[in-house]
C-alpha cells in the first residue's frame, strides 16, 4: 500500500511564462501539503485522522524551480521571464530548472532557435541567482504561513483579500512628478499667442433651432461620403445643444431684425432665462 498524491494546477490568468509560475506553484503546494500520519507494525497499517495526530509534511529532497529565457533575433537578445507579449514574438525559449544547491534539474530548448554553448552557460548562471532569490521568498512565505496558523491569524486567501485581489490584474501606479507643473503651465501660457476673438453669431432657422458658426472641416482624416454626411448631422446637433445650454450675447442682433411675429417659446429647457435671438442672414455655406 502506498500513498498517491495528485497535483492539480489551475491557470487563472496567462500573462506569459506559465512554466515558471506553474513550477513555483507546484513545489510550494507540495511543501505546504500535510498528509495523515501513519504507523506500520508488521503487516498492520494504522492511518490516523487529522484529529488524532497532526498531519505530517511530505519529505521534499529539494525544490526545483524553472526559469525561462526568451531569445530574439537569432540569439542576440535574451529576456528572462518573458511576458505574454514578449512570448508571442520570441524566436525560441530556453527553460532551465535548478534548485538552490545549484544543481540543474532539467534544460529544455525549444522553438527552433540556434544557441551557442556560451549562451547556455550564461543562462545557467543567471538561473542560479534567480533560483536563490525565489527559494528564499518561498521559505519566508512557508514560515510565515506556519507561524500565522499557530497564532490563529489570517492565512491563505483571507490574508490576501484586503490588500489585493488574486484574480485581478495588478499594475503598479506610475508616479508623476507634479512639482513643476505650475511653472510649466505659466511658461506655456506666457509664450502662447492670445487666442483670436470669436464672435458668436447664432442664426435662427426656426423657433428652437439655431446655428452658431459654420463649423470647420473635419480634421480627423479622410472620411467617405456617407461618413461626412453623418459628421455634418452630428455637428449640427451638437451646435444646437450647445446653444440651448448657454446664454449667448451677440453684438449684431440689435442692428438687424426681421419682421416676424414673436416666436412662441415651446422649448422645455431648464434654463432660467431664455434669450431669444434675432435671426440673421444665412451666410454662405462653405462645405
Amino acid at each position: 500500500q502506498v500513498w498517491q498524491i495528485r497535483l492539480d494546477l489551475h491557470l487563472l490568468n496567462h500573462d506569459g511564462n506559465i512554466i515558471d509560475a506553474a513550477s513555483i506553484a507546484g513545489i510550494v503546494a507540495l511543501c505546504h501539503f500535510r498528509r495523515p500520519d501513519v504507523s506500520v507494525q508488521g503487516e498492520e497499517v494504522t492511518v490516523y485522522t487529522p484529529e488524532e495526530r497532526d498531519p505530517v509534511p511530505l519529505s521534499i529532497h529539494h525544490m526545483p524551480i524553472c526559469v525561462s529565457f526568451a531569445f530574439f533575433q537569432q540569439g542576440t537578445y535574451l529576456l528572462v521571464d518573458p511576458s505574454e507579449r514578449e512570448e508571442s514574438v520570441m524566436d525560441g525559449l530556453l527553460v532551465i530548472a535548478m534548485n538552490k544547491h545549484r544543481e540543474i534539474c532539467t534544460i529544455q530548448s525549444s522553438g527552433g532557435i540556434m544557441l551557442v554553448k556560451d549562451q547556455v552557460l550564461r543562462c545557467s548562471k543567471i538561473t542560479a541567482v534567480k533560483v536563490a532569490e525565489i527559494t528564499e521568498l518561498i521559505q519566508k512565505a512557508l514560515e510565515n504561513d506556519q507561524k500565522v496558523r499557530k497564532e490563529g491569524g489570517k492565512f491563505g486567501f483571507a490574508e490576501s483579500i484586503p490588500n489585493q485581489k488574486i484574480t485581478a490584474f495588478k499594475m503598479e501606479s506610475a508616479a508623476v512628478d507634479t512639482n513643476n507643473v505650475e511653472e510649466q503651465a505659466e511658461e506655456i501660457i506666457t509664450k502662447a499667442d492670445p487666442p483670436s476673438e470669436v464672435f458668436a453669431k447664432p442664426i435662427l432657422h426656426t423657433p428652437g433651432t439655431a446655428q452658431i458658426g459654420e463649423g470647420m472641416e473635419n480634421s480627423w482624416g479622410d472620411l467617405e461620403e456617407s461618413e461626412k454626411e453623418e459628421a455634418v448631422e452630428e455637428e449640427g446637433e451638437s451646435e444646437v445643444t450647445a446653444f440651448e445650454c448657454e446664454k449667448i450675447e451677440t453684438e449684431d442682433t440689435s442692428t438687424m431684425r426681421e419682421t416676424k411675429d414673436e416666436p412662441i417659446v415651446l422649448s422645455d429647457s431648464e434654463e432660467e432665462e431664455v434669450v431669444i435671438l434675432e435671426p440673421q442672414e444665412l451666410p454662405k455655406k462653405t462645405r
Binding site: 530556453l94 544543481e103 540543474i104 532539467t106 540556434m114 554553448k117
Partner: protein
C-alpha cells in the same frame, strides 16, 4: 555502402584510482547493478568514456521515397524516410506563404523494445519527440526556398537501445540529404551522461536506465550552434560545461562519419549514372 567507423579517443586525463570507487549507481534494490565506469576506466560494454558506439549508415534504402536513410548506432537501429518538397496535402490553409512546412512523425516499431509495444505512435512521448524533430529541422532546412510546400519526415525506430532521439536525428539528416533538400549544415545529435565527474558520450540503454543525468544535444557542427538541448535528472551547474563539451565532441565525431557516408554515396551514385 556502409560506413563503419570505430572511434577511439585518448583516455580521459583524470586517472581512476583502483579501489576508491564509490558504490555503483544502479537501480535501487538491484543487487547486480552494473557500474557505469569500472576501475580501469571502461564502461559496461567495454568502451572508453568518450568513445562512441559503432556507427553504420546507408542512404537511399528505398526507391520510392524521395529520400531515405538507415542508421545503426551500436544496437539502436533507426530508419528515416523523407517525402518532399511537395504541395500541401490536407488543409491548404495551413500552408505558409513564405516557406515550407516540415511535418515529422516519430514511431517505434512494436518489436523495438524488450516488451512488445502496444502503440507505435500517437502516444505522448512520440508526439513530443516528433515536435522536437520538427523544430530542429525547421531551423536547419532552408525552408525559404520552397514557399507553400510541405516536407514530410517519417522516422521509425526498429530497435531501441539508448539514444533513440539521436539516432532519429542522424538518420533524418541523411535522409534529407538523400532527398536533395538543401540544409544549413549537418544536424548531428548525441547523448552524454556523467559518471562521477567523468563525462560519458553516447549512452546505451542500461546506462540511461541507471538514473544519472542525461544530456541530449543536436548540433550543427560547422558553426557550433545548438539546435536542441535537453537535460534530464540532476546535474550540478559546474559539471554542465564538461557534459556539453563531451556531447559537442561526440557530435563532431559523428559528423565526420556521416560526411564520409554521404560522400561515398555520392561516388556510388555518380558511378552508376556515369555507366
Amino acid at each position: 555502402m556502409p560506413g563503419v567507423v570505430v572511434l577511439s579517443l585518448p583516455p580521459p586525463p583524470r586517472a581512476v584510482h583502483a579501489g576508491s570507487r564509490s558504490p555503483p549507481r544502479g537501480r535501487p534494490g538491484n543487487m547486480a547493478a552494473p557500474e557505469l565506469l569500472s576501475d580501469e576506466g571502461y564502461r559496461a560494454d567495454g568502451r572508453r568514456p568518450a568513445e562512441l558506439r559503432k556507427v553504420r549508415a546507408r542512404m537511399g534504402v528505398f526507391a520510392q521515397a524521395d529520400g531515405s536513410a538507415y542508421i545503426e548506432q551500436g544496437n539502436t537501429k533507426a530508419l528515416a524516410v523523407v517525402y518532399g518538397p511537395h504541395e500541401m496535402r490536407g488543409s491548404r490553409s495551413k500552408a505558409l506563404p513564405d516557406r515550407a512546412l516540415v511535418n515529422c512523425q516519430y514511431s517505434m516499431a512494436t518489436f523495438s523494445t524488450g516488451e512488445r509495444r502496444r502503440r507505435p505512435h500517437g502516444d505522448r512521448q512520440a508526439g513530443e519527440l516528433a515536435l522536437h524533430l520538427k523544430q530542429t529541422f525547421e531551423a536547419a532546412i532552408l525552408t525559404r526556398l520552397y514557399p507553400r510546400s510541405q516536407i514530410d519526415i517519417y522516422v521509425q525506430i526498429l530497435q531501441a537501445d539508448g539514444g533513440n532521439y539521436c539516432a532519429c536525428v542522424n538518420a533524418a539528416t541523411l535522409a534529407v540529404m538523400d532527398a536533395g533538400i538543401p540544409m544549413r549544415d549537418y544536424v548531428c545529435a548525441c547523448s552524454a551522461g556523467l559518471a562521477e565527474d567523468t563525462p560519458l558520450a553516447d549512452l546505451s540503454s542500461p546506462e540511461e536506465a541507471a538514473g544519472g543525468p542525461r544530456l541530449v544535444l543536436a548540433l550543427l557542427p560547422a558553426s557550433g550552434q545548438i539546435a536542441l538541448l535537453q537535460l534530464s535528472a540532476r546535474l550540478h551547474q559546474e559539471r554542465l560545461e564538461a557534459a556539453l563539451e563531451a556531447a559537442g565532441q561526440a557530435c563532431r565525431a559523428l559528423h565526420a562519419v556521416l560526411d564520409r557516408v554521404v560522400r561515398d554515396r555520392l561516388r556510388e551514385v555518380t558511378a552508376l549514372l556515369g555507366d
